[in-house]
Symmetry: D2
């Protein structure tokens, strides 16, 4: 069995990594660290792992690294950059789930994250882990920066339109809706049950969310031109799931069926993206707990806009599932190994 | 006391009319009809009205009309047009909550609703009951067509931008999210608890929702030019509330503060619209059960788009509350009489 | 207008007091204190009060007391005992919503609350504010201790059985289920959206909840004998509401109809308790936002147990609504003044 | 691969059987029938199975039986008895998920289910499929009657107390709370989103639920005396999960720790039952999507009652997971094969 360590394992992404890796036939957990929960049983924080992951959280220590071939870093941004260079330096494969290594330009990072970058030497060295688009680079990489959850949903919805050169690139509006698990495990007024229940709101409205530069980086890369988007995140009273509704004006007249064909071709052979037939729209619950991304499409002929909806589980395809998918690619394992979980519906 | 009748009172809009009118100091309920629930106690369907509205549903009969000065029609579209002409002919004030009389052109109605219009002679005779915008006409009207819930949220978000001539009118994208009560009381697979719970999806994507022509009618009227919009409704796992996120490209450079000022001025003296200060965004739960509409604003300077969010309770400001507001205007009562209910939060 | 002050107004009970008093025809808010939110606008914490309660939280200061005839204390237990003696000493009417003054015996308080009592001289001086049962005492009182939310639901369900001498008093089992607002506004891991959503659990199982001595105190008072109960609270994924299911073995054979008659007689003339007919069971949503308590009854003839279900809104009848009801009684106003709000359903 | 057929596959239990069997390493789906959805793609009803189960529902026909070694029957009670005799007669192993074959006495069935039994010759021939208790019989059986969801939760909570002879058997009170998926897939007023959301209620109160005789049958069998219980089911605003709170008076003094030890011993070697340590209580979300049952215990020393809480996923351990567990036992496969799914938390 291949040994995997998880640094920063007490957050939701860490918990999902534990859940997924437990079922992986070729990989097992070497260690789970969480400095603030040192000594705590994993099942005290995650009762679903009772009798399943019988480990305690430990303090992160570089000496742990020799017990693992691959390490997932589930720390918050700002903290991740403190440990990733060391892990990479030991020759251990690293998959970082934070935003710390998604940009090659420190200035971009610093302006959106409001944090000084402490590991500039590592910038530009990670493969961007959007598995469906950058698989070739990921397969060769020893260091992968896993995408943001919103970015994953938005990019899978928009990439085929951009690659197909089908839209006016300055007309992109992305309206995303996320379940509350995206806000993490720390108790805050904003993520209290009584705040979110039966409530719906937008936040960081007006081009302020830190996943914007990541979306623009990839779209610009695919388009070979600079693209700016308007992106609005919303918080929805549910635990898991991101539904992204993306809008763009078509540069020519196309029918819904034609756009579906283009998407189907683009995602041919990609096991986790399902392009739905005409009149079907994705539902977040259909992918809950799974690594799938469902995509639905319609052209608004009256305004000549394409409307693309994508649904993912933010903690799986938007975080830990995609991280394991990237690990599989890096290790030369089948891309979908250990990721066969099916969405929980109802 | 003024007597009000409710025809088609067994749906959610009817139930809310009963709840609201029960607390109105100048109006009382004369009768409640619901043919399919003839003889059933109101509290059997709406247990919140136990010991509060001690009436039974009756069959609709024109002879009831002489007992009321004003009649609300809460029937579905297609059914409403069967009774409204008769009510109006008796000289009773009518407020119709269906879509049947929102358009003057039967062809528009028929193409969006898929139903032949059976009362063409009445078309164009109703005042469109968006109280904040058409109060003058409503005050003089004996027949009001109450707006659709999505239309109310979208129009209150966009009217000041259009009136202020601040946007390129062909760039409007409206992304709306509604709680499940908008889908009504009839049991359907789509509105089952297990379908909606922890789920999020879009429907009628690509310019198919019947509130679109209503939104375009009013925006075009305000702009004095034809406006077409892209509108996507979504279903959110909560009971009440519509959050509308509207996007449009500004025709000049404006700051968020400038746009807020414009909105504040536009809604000055309107008791139910609250324009929020910079950095505050509306939440549906803040208006749940109330007739308020909260509006939040931000300019995305990077793309020069205005982003407007409005929150309403779809059953109150989006239906029955606005209907009572219109009744107050029609009867010369204070606009907010009986509508002082405050949102239930948490 | 009568002036009411609220000390400790930033919690959910405080917010509901503001919502309710705003609609009260004879009372208005004099001041709202919340030391940790000094200077914050009320609507920053409670967006439903935007444009409705245009006040800022202030620091509590005894000099405020002269501006009010009645003061509600919404502080947590332990903190309430620090200010109540001072308020009472000034001759201002006090309604305390904490558990600090519910017992005459300091030892009972200290063993269940784990806090030393700092105002023993005030013990036994407050009327216990279960309005339906102790109205006579409340009318004469200048100091009322408002009941706990669970205690209210349980006592309204059990009092008629005890008073009617219909059960074996050592067979009482109370299984209560509460929405999350009962756990208050402070962010905690246990009250995070992601902890409660789609989850159901019991807590303080095995006779550990601090509302137990309060339930036993009143039942014993009514029975004129010592009664001990088994009580288990549960946390349910919803915002508001307590459903209590109480079980007791009947001391004689009775039918469901006979028990309903007994309850109906017991609650005759009580405006807020509705005893439901046979086969109807209470639903928490029917009373959400209202001061009503709905009670449903069935006898399990096979085991000769009575099963009583009561539903209240924990923040209204279980806290702030009952506090206003007690205020009305204390001030000689109609018991239901300002409390006509109807449950929000759906 | 072993071939399994599902008769009546369009309900929630059928959908879960498809989800689980898809991941089973030794079994694959032979056919899925659903007469009313003949020809419909499975993924049209269950979008989580898009691209995963690429089958259409067919009409049930006995000729299908030769393609399967084992058949699950997911039909409603009353319908199941129409096909089970035929399946059993062909020598195909049958696991029936309905209530039709849980009793050996037709009179018991008929009085609780209100349906005449049409296959009396088959009564008493099925092993009762509560896997943890009747594994020996199930291993030898060709015909298993899978337990009801409430019965599973209640029996796993009470069996050790009965077997250990620790309680007064006439003091059992069972208060169960179920998510809405227990009510099935058919649209009904009672299971509409707007009815259940933010609502909590009891139903079939007073000894009327059809799982009562099943609970009493097993408890009586274990106790070797007739036992009657009071059982109240409740409907909770969540999709999955049953939390059962069971109460019984201890026949001797025992501590919580002693009772936990007894339970731990009783369930030793049972892979799906986890007895929690002192002070930990089960949560339904910890077992959502999994076949686990978590049990928490406390003794209320003041009243000498044991309080036992058990949590299961009603669709998995309460239905399809236990059915697969029984299939494994019948086929001589490891009991937990294909059932390693971990609860989805958060």
């Amino acid at each position: 069995m291949i040994k995997a360590g998880i640094v920063g394992a007490s957050g939701f992404a860490g918990a999902e990594l534990m859940r997924i890796i437990t079922g992986h036939p070729e990989v097992e957990i070497a260690f789970v660290t969480a400095n603030q929960h040192k000594g705590t049983a994993v099942s005290d924080l995650y009762p679903n792992l009772t009798g399943v992951v019988e480990k305690n959280f430990t303090i992160y220590d570089p000496s742990l690294l020799k017990s693992a071939e691959v390490v997932f870093v589930g720390l918050p941004h700002g903290a991740s950059m403190q440990v990733v260079p060391e892990i990479a330096a030991k020759g251990v494969k690293v998959i970082d789930l934070s935003g710390d290594f998604r940009f090659s330009d420190a200035a971009v990072y610093e302006s959106w994250y409001g944090v000084e970058h402490a590991a500039r030497g590592m910038l530009g060295r990670a493969a961007y882990g959007l598995s469906e688009i950058y698989a070739d680079g990921i397969k060769k990489a020893a260091f992968v920066s896993n995408p943001g959850c919103y970015a994953t949903g938005a990019l899978l919805a928009l990439a085929p339109l951009i690659k197909g050169d089908m839209i006016h690139s300055n007309t992109i509006v992305i309206d995303s809706k996320s379940g509350a698990s995206g806000a993490g495990r720390s108790p805050k007024q904003e993520t209290l049950y009584c705040t979110i229940d039966e409530n719906l709101s937008g936040y960081k409205v007006g081009g302020k969310h830190q996943h914007i530069p990541e979306i623009e980086m990839v779209l610009s890369d695919l388009a070979k031109e600079e693209i700016a988007v308007t992106f609005t995140p919303h918080l929805v009273p549910m635990g898991r799931g991101i539904l992204t509704t993306a809008y763009a004006t078509l540069s020519k007249r196309l029918t819904t069926v034609q756009v579906i064909e283009l998407f189907s071709k683009y995602y041919e052979g990609k096991p986790f993206v399902k392009v739905l037939p005409e009149e079907k729209m994705p539902q977040t619950k259909a992918v809950a707990g799974s690594n799938y991304c469902h995509i639905g499409l319609a052209v608004d002929a009256r305004t000549n806009r394409a409307v693309v909806l994508s649904a993912i589980d933010n903690l799986v395809k938007g975080a830990s599932g995609q991280a394991v998918q990237n690990m599989n690619l890096m290790l030369g394992l089948p891309e979908d190994m250990g990721l066969e979980m099916i969405g929980l519906y109802p």
